[in-house]
Subunit: 82 residues, 2 copies
């Protein structure tokens, strides 16, 4: 899986900005360089509903179409961004 390509294809960039560096609203987190394990856990928890606070409702439909393997690739890509 190509995490960078998935980051665009799955619509992540629309809110979190290029390379996860420039979210469109301050209520959204920057993702560039974040720990991979943390990113994977949050995406899975939002997908399952274990995390449902705040703006997670915006993420839930986005992550619904992303497989666990794809989540892993996206997280690895974001963690690698300097």
């Amino acid at each position: 899986e190509d995490g960078a390509a998935l980051y665009t294809a799955k619509g992540c960039m629309a809110c979190h900005g290029a390379d996860g560096k420039a979210p469109i609203m301050p209520q959204y987190p920057k993702l560039a360089g974040q720990n991979k394990e943390y990113l994977v856990a949050q995406m899975k928890d939002i997908k399952s509903g274990a995390r449902a606070n705040g703006m997670s409702m915006v993420m839930k439909p986005m992550v619904a179409s992303v497989s666990d393997q794809e989540l892993d690739a996206i997280a690895a890509y974001l963690a690698s961004v300097k």
Copy 2:
């Protein structure tokens, strides 16, 4: 309020590392440079229980002793870290 002093005094550094740059476990998020509004919302949601996923249980007792005014100062400090 002095956010940098509170970051140490309230024990944030113990898990998130100096300046929020080096969490002691990959399951914990890096905080340096994160959006202030996002940080405030997460701390308040963990304090209230609105966010309770994953490792939030570790944060909950830490944030219990931090006032909203102090949360705001800590978030402003972390957002300012380069």
